[in-house]
Symmetry: C2
Subunit: 360 residues, 2 copies
């Protein structure tokens, strides 16, 4: 089934309002969450709405947070998000970073005591309209085994960077530091297909192609997939994201990051507060005139787009291309949702007396 | 053969002095170059000394550069390195970044018109003694084919990040954004061994295990190794490094990065000046008290070090462990050099009337 963006936005906004969010926060949260569905990153959008509601039900999400800066310098700040939705705290922090970049050339904000923030790319892209390069990291529930271990120590810990161009669309990188994210496994599981080699390992640390292995004590593999192909680099990148998001802000980190699912207990011996993010912005004209830079970015993008393809039917992609094409198509033709997600939306709606069907 | 650090340092310093470097620059260049040999990254140390000399001979390296800041804000700067050795320009830039971080919380410096800067980790680690997180990127000669292409568009473009801890040794990440760097292929070639699957592709873009394939029009593969295992993420990371180092500074970028080897011509239609780097530092107490952070880093490191190993004989590693162990051993027992490197050092010495053997 395919649903209009506007209808889904209305429904989602009412769910967040049902939780007690202000109208502004409910609209912002809906916009951030739906940016994932629009951009084709289905695992991070409406599929998670019920999860947020359940975290709110058990008191782990605060719908009316008093977010505040706890420490700052001209180019940095640390924010206590007061258990806000990350969908709200990360844009708030990004605004602080952008204001600091306007003043002193760059701005960096670490956020603690937060929750899952949707797609990292949304926050990084906030910098683009200011002629800035945007940057966003977050840690996440542990699902990834570092190279040589059987333990889940890291989340899929994404890195996002958005870089403006002149006439070309912006370069937008947004990547989990694992070979693949959990969402790709769920898709295979639904189709009852095996996972390609290099995505997961089993509970004993051996390579596996079982798409359900995470429920059997297995783990996602860091980008690189095995030691011979340098999975320690993916482990290293995921660790950097964890440290910048968790340790630098004073949030939980590593295996102590709070789980996204409300039925799992919080870590017994917390090392910090909630989930952590790290966002920032570099003003381009703090380095060279923005116009010059953006024209050079056009050259970069055009040259890479015209690199000789292996197969002419599979053109070279520039980071951000697939998501931008998905957004254009879905904004026009609607957002496809699978039955389990529709079911979860209905359930989320019922909690607040909303009938999902009636919205459309 | 194994040689003492001090002897190699003396020899290297005299070579750089022979090129016309000041004593201070010759000492600094030797220290940075030898940091690679000490830390076991043999491909980036003395093995490249003759290459630097040859670049100087053809006028691409300026031994007496007038490095200068061409643009700045309180937290940023752009430096024209005046064709300096990157071994000199990157530490210079890192000092600027550290001074800016002292003043406003963070400092970021883009460098254009530079040359190869040795190991990225050296520059990032300069921040550690200031209780800062150090960051270093550089672009490099194109050897890497982006996913879906047969063209060499990117260098091995490393990312380095150094993070201090309290009683534990620092977390030091320093990784090429490819599956492996060229140096690992050269080692296999010398042993006449095949490359593991996932390291390289041939001229037509097909997976290859030929360790000599780079000389036959092949290319290194981005981290991830193939599209199914998300090589586009490695391509994306390498692109970020290229843009931050090259486009933001006004240096060459992508296939226009000047080659390291002096016998290859410079790009015909340059899009910028020389090679580019990007370095920076975040002051830890710009986010939270440094002592608190460093104690949390100890917890992070200890917890990850004690993650359950797959094989008890292969302990989990923390980024920086292998290099730190190599440094301790080589500082004590000497640095092993293979015959081709010794030959290249003798040749470099002869250009300045230095007899390599006599130094020892």
């Amino acid at each position: 089934m395919t649903y209009s963006y506007q209808g889904l936005f209305e429904f989602t906004r009412r769910v967040f309002e049902g939780m007690g969010c202000s109208l502004a926060d409910a609209e912002l949260s809906s916009k951030v969450l739906l940016a994932a569905d629009l951009r084709g990153i289905d695992s991070h959008g409406l599929a998670r709405l019920l999860g947020y509601v359940r975290l709110w039900e058990v008191g782990r999400v605060n719908a009316q947070p008093q977010m505040h800066i706890v420490h700052e310098t001209p180019s940095t700040a640390t924010i206590n998000a007061d258990a806000a939705l990350g969908l709200v705290s990360a844009p708030y922090a990004m605004k602080v970073a952008i204001e600091k970049a306007k003043m002193v050339g760059s701005g960096w904000v670490a956020i603690k005591n937060s929750n899952h923030f949707g797609i990292a790319g949304y926050h990084a892209m906030m910098a683009l309209e200011h002629d800035m390069i945007g940057f966003a990291l977050t840690n996440a529930s542990p699902l990834v085994a570092p190279t040589r271990t059987t333990e889940r120590m890291l989340g899929t810990n994404p890195i996002a960077l958005a870089i403006p161009a002149h006439t070309e669309p912006a370069f937008v990188a947004d990547l989990a530091t694992t070979t693949v994210s959990n969402g790709k496994l769920e898709i295979l599981e639904r189709k009852q297909q095996d996972a390609p080699e290099g995505w997961v390992q089993d509970a004993s640390g051996q390579a596996s192609t079982d798409a359900t292995v995470l429920r059997k004590g297995g783990a996602l593999l860091p980008l690189g997939s095995n030691e011979q192909r340098s999975s320690y680099k993916g482990y290293c990148l995921g660790s950097i994201v964890d440290i910048m998001s968790g340790v630098l802000s004073g949030a939980g980190f590593g295996p102590w990051v709070p789980p996204f699912v409300s039925f799992l207990p919080l870590p017994q011996d917390p090392v910090g507060e909630g989930l952590g993010h790290f966002v920032g912005a570099w003003r381009i004209d703090a380095f060279r005139p923005a116009e010059d830079f953006k024209k050079s970015m056009d050259i970069w993008i055009q040259r890479f787009r015209n690199a000789k393809p292996i197969n002419p039917d599979e053109p070279v992609l520039i980071p951000g291309d697939p998501e931008r094409l998905a957004e254009a198509e879905r904004m026009q033709k609607g957002i496809p949702l699978i039955a389990p997600v529709i079911g979860s939306l209905k359930e989320a709606g019922r909690k607040f007396g909303l009938n999902f069907e009636e919205v459309f």
